[in-house]
Amino acid sequence: MAEPALSIRGLTKVYGNGFQALKGIDLDVQQGDFYALLGPNGAGKSTTLGVVCSLVQKTAGKVKIFGIDIDEDFAKAKYHLGVVPQEFNFNQFEKVIDIVLAQAGYYGMPRREALPRAESLLRDLSLWDKRNGAARNLSGGMKRRLMIARALMHRPKLLILDEPTAGVDIELRRSMWEYMQRINRDEGTTIILTTHYLEEAESLCRNVGIINRGEIVRNTSVRELLAELDTETFLLDLAAPIEQAPVIEGFEVQRVDAAQLSVMVHRGQRLNDVFDALHREGIEVMSMRNRANRLEEMFVSMVEQGSKKEIQG
């Protein structure tokens, strides 16, 4: 079996102020995977990725990138790694083209190879027309795409995206999703993504790790995780206003407003029963949607359970 793209064992990080950000986490991400690392703020996502990228010094543990131990040959491991950080980390006064060419240079890529690569990436990410402008004049979305182009200059086999679509409008976010799916599918690039948009993780990723308070609480496939979802809440838009919510046996129904109901459906229950009951009451449903993203419901419940355990402990 091929070496995992990323293998982490017993990773611990204790900051200078004594705060233990990572408590001995184990994690494997297989080659070619599109993997989501999820967790609330301060859970340890960025610290984990920071150690992998050499921006954070680990306290203990082993990290291997495509089988290369970073303690033994970090430089070799770094060749396989492309990083798109959460915050803009380029010189805002430099030209777009200079930023991507400099990154290629840091990897030892000669200019004659770097120029066509830069053109291809900047065209793909709709930045070619902006190549001679200063990076500070780009919009937020363009700056994010610039960081993706920069990270891909040396053709990394493992791409780490730390909240790549934060603050990006929905249209642009979807085009970035398509681009990431394309490089994962067509070029076989392994992608690790952290995001606060759980719909992003559900749409893009095959596997997911949930980290909370410095520990991996789940590491599984998105499909398996969603299969564990006990309840889903649906919002029903009604054809005509109602005074109060109808009572439907076995279901928790609430009136959101005059023209909307929320219905909680447990695993094994049939939505048809809800519609039959509403039909009998003379209530017509015009449309229906999930109240929250399914993964989000699962995530919130896991994090809440973790918090309760901690309080009880």
Binding site: V56, Q57, V83, P85, Q103, G105
Partner: protein
């Protein structure tokens, strides 16, 4: 990385640094030229003509090497200190940290960039001085050698300052409170033979005195101190400071959490 990849990485960093300070030339190249012109007019022409000779040279001729050296020192230092600190502040230093570029290449790249600015300003100031005096160089190789070594030494010093700095104020403390006084007391404007015995001995603890004197020896063929010892001292300082800066980079001081 193999040798050719290292050469590409180093070249990339050096070119980037040179582009940076030439892009903002009104902040980096113009001010030292104007300041030094003032020194030449006020100290060299107006006051110097009343002072007479110093160490057997006209006062203008005496101060030219010191003023060139002063501009090389301050510009080499401040270029690296401000550039690397800006990289830290804007987090663009992470571009380099995530790359496979060895730490010594990062250090060498910034140091060479700082040297380029220091020597560039030195050449500009030398050009300005030609409006005021005719420069003769007694020992050209020694002159070039010592100015290059001095630029390297202070560029490394600027790098260490930037690594340790936590806010922009921190990178102006050393130039203001350490470099400037040491430069003024380093024999730029006077010969230490004019000082009382105690202060002559005290001056010998000032490393800048050695650099200014060797540089002046290269130009004029006169020095207050033995040239061989001075060169050795400068070289020794470079080796020690380079090792300290590299150790700090390896340990991630000021750049890794």
């Amino acid at each position: 990385m193999n040798a050719s990849q290292i050469a590409v990485a180093l070249w990339t960093l050096v070119v980037k640094e040179i582009k940076r300070f030439t892009r903002i030339w009104p902040q980096t190249l113009l001010p030292p030229s104007i300041t030094m012109t003032m020194y030449f007019i006020i100290f060299g022409n107006l006051i110097g003509s009343r002072i007479g000779e110093m160490d057997g040279q006209s006062y203008m001729d005496f101060i030219v090497p010191g003023l060139i050296m002063m501009s090389v020192i301050t510009n080499s230092y401040s270029n690296v200190a401000s550039s690397f600190f800006s990289n830290k502040f804007q987090r663009s230093v992470e571009e380099m940290m995530v790359s496979p570029m060895p730490n010594w290449v990062i250090l060498a790249g910034f140091v060479l960039g700082g040297m380029a600015r220091g020597l560039g300003v030195g050449i500009i100031v030398t050009g300005v001085s030609l409006f005021f005096t005719r420069i003769q160089v007694a020992h050209p190789l020694l002159t070039i050698g010592v100015v290059v070594l001095t630029a390297a030494l202070f560029a490394i010093g600027g790098f260490i300052n930037a690594l340790l700095g936590k806010k922009f104020d921190d990178i102006s403390i050393v130039p203001t409170f350490v470099l400037t006084p040491l430069t003024y007391l380093g024999g730029v404007f006077y010969s230490i033979s004019l000082l009382p015995t105690f202060w002559q001995a005290a001056s010998m603890l000032n490393p800048i005195l050695y650099m200014v004197n060797v540089f002046r020896y290269g130009f004029l063929g006169v020095s207050d101190i033995p040239v061989g010892w001075a060169l050795l001292a400068v070289f020794g300082f470079i080796v020690v400071l380079f090792a300290i800066a590299l150790w700090m980079l390896e340990r991630g001081k000021g750049i890794r959490t």
